[in-house]
Amino acid sequence: MELTGAEMIVECLKAEDVEYVFGYPGGAVLHIYDAFYKQNDVKHILVRHEQGATHAADGYARSTGRPGVVLVTSGPGATNAVTGIATAYMDSIPMIVITGQVPKALIGNDAFQEVDSVGITRPVVKHNFLIEDVKDVARIFKQAFYVATTGRPGPVVIDIPKDVTVAKAEFSYPSEISMRSYNPTVKGHPGQVRRAVDIMLSAERPMIYTGGGVVLGNGSEQLRQFTRKLGYPITQTLMGLGAYPATDKQSLGMLGMHGTYEANMGMHHCDVLIAIGARFDDRVTGNLEKFCPYATIIHVDVDPASISKNVKVDVPIVGEVVQVLNEFNQALEQTERTPNASALEKWWHQINEWRSQDCLKYDRESEIIKPQFVLEKLYEITKGKAIVTSDVGQHQMFAAQYYGFDEPRRWINSGGLGTMGFGLPAAIGAQLAHPDDLVACVTGEASIQMCIQELATCRQYGLPLKIINLNNGCMGMVRQWQEFFYEKRYAMSYFESLPDFKKVAESYGHIGIKVEKPADVVPALEEAIAQKDRLVFLDFITDQEENVYPMIPSGAGLNEMILV
């Protein structure tokens, strides 16, 4: 069958079962948009800014495990998408970004809306392609989806010149693909698995530390079996929350800079650390010199480059999290050895002593709305079942601390890159993928303004998001650092003028509610949730002085937390 390049793109997306494409048209992609116009299988969601398109595709991908797809034009379309591509790259999110390009004959001539998209995106993609011949469209799309979704996932950019989208060739979509230069490891090395199991069963003060890799690798079920079989304490990173239920007694909550006291003290004092799908990020380890000084470290990761990058590990295991956890579970099933019960009892006793510090306590009697209170109530009212997206800053940490996630793919935030403006468009992607679920975007008055134009997208597609705006009138996390480390010199962290968010929401055709008193928090949340078909923007006026505790200051070890 002979097709144009543009028609081939539609066929490739259909063959990959793509449900939604998030995009914004422009000159270089008009042939592609014309091909979209002539079909109904792949739905196109029109955003209001290309950054929004990438974050929305990202939110779709994180909440479903399927790759998000983006279509933008050349030049500014591509550069606007870069922040979203980098966001996905840092958190290993599978994504396909199709960027239009000027016709081949004009490439390199500084043509109108020309930019070297392959060059600009190279450091923030897993791989990228420039399609030079219409005959390569099918193969490159097949490779792009394969690369984006296997091994350690990540975004892949496909740059396609306008003349290629109008050229014609025979089309058939390959059913199989093999690449001599790309063969991710799947199974863990049996010898290493045996060694790891031997070490973990000899532990006296064990700790399981898991990250986003368990969520991305769909290893939640296997992790639960593994953790329960051993009876060991488990802590999860910001990216890993939900893979193991927060409400389970073995869960110590999040670790790291704003993690719980018990998780960080447990990390510091453990003698065996079992790291699974986590990458020893600096926000997790604190000072590397002081990190886990007593521990033998086992590290499972699909990406060999993540192993011993920041922290030298003793037992590296490269493989998919699900596979390796299955191998662990099998080995634990077969062995006659059991964990050291008396040592474990002592260890839990110590952990419970740390727990009794109640490190997440805050002033519940306050006359001003405390951000923690809003999140606690959101958790209670939604029974922990909502999909929660967040932006970046204090509200993100509060959400991670006070909203207990019991299931994976319910907590969606930009952990690696820390992109303000992520929350609202990510919620769009999540809501489209889960039309019957409650999707709440936890944000602040600074972050929300970075992609606020997407309120129009929500209106166009009738997305009933609940926006939880924790409005303290300042960039809370910046202000906190200035208070702690810059002698309260609050340089540029306050807003001289803020919009009336209630009116902003209303002008986009949504419902806006301003909430100023603690007593009104619950009724406002209930009202928002009762509005099943409408987006409700809840503007909570919160305490400006509130800080995120506990905290590990930079340069300190995990046992050197600042508590309230």
Binding site: R122, P123, L130, M179, R180, S181, P304, A305, I307, K312
Partner: protein, 162 residues
Amino acid sequence: MRHIISILLENESGALSRVAGLFSARAYNIESLSVAPTHDPTLSRMTLVTSGTEEVIEQISKQLNKLIDVVKLQDLTEDAHIERELMLIKVEAVREARDEVKRLVEIFRGRIIDVTETTYTIEITGNGEKLDAFMDALSSITIHEVVRSGLLGISRGTRVLS
């Protein structure tokens, strides 16, 4: 420590910049780099000289392996290997210098490949130290131009990167 990493990569546009970009993005050091297609025209062979602690070299290898265009790589410095570099030099060759340069070229087993009334162009191969020594030996001669290829490396014995 200095390491010579030999890389087999897809002979595609952009593959070189992926490798070069990785080094600059992660603040690794490149001392020299040379690349050309192999007997299989779909593959290029790159020889890259870098330096760093064992941990850094391990990361470099892993990060290179992660690039989709990289098919295979080998740290040549782990085993017996041969290093070669090609240098082309244009020097002033007038009066007694004409004989002096010719003698030095013979001693270093180079070749004079182009001659004018006032210049010689010399080709010489060897490891980096030999080429440096040749330059030192030319200290009394006026050098107009020096072009060095960057290092090429290959394993000794039957070991093959493929």
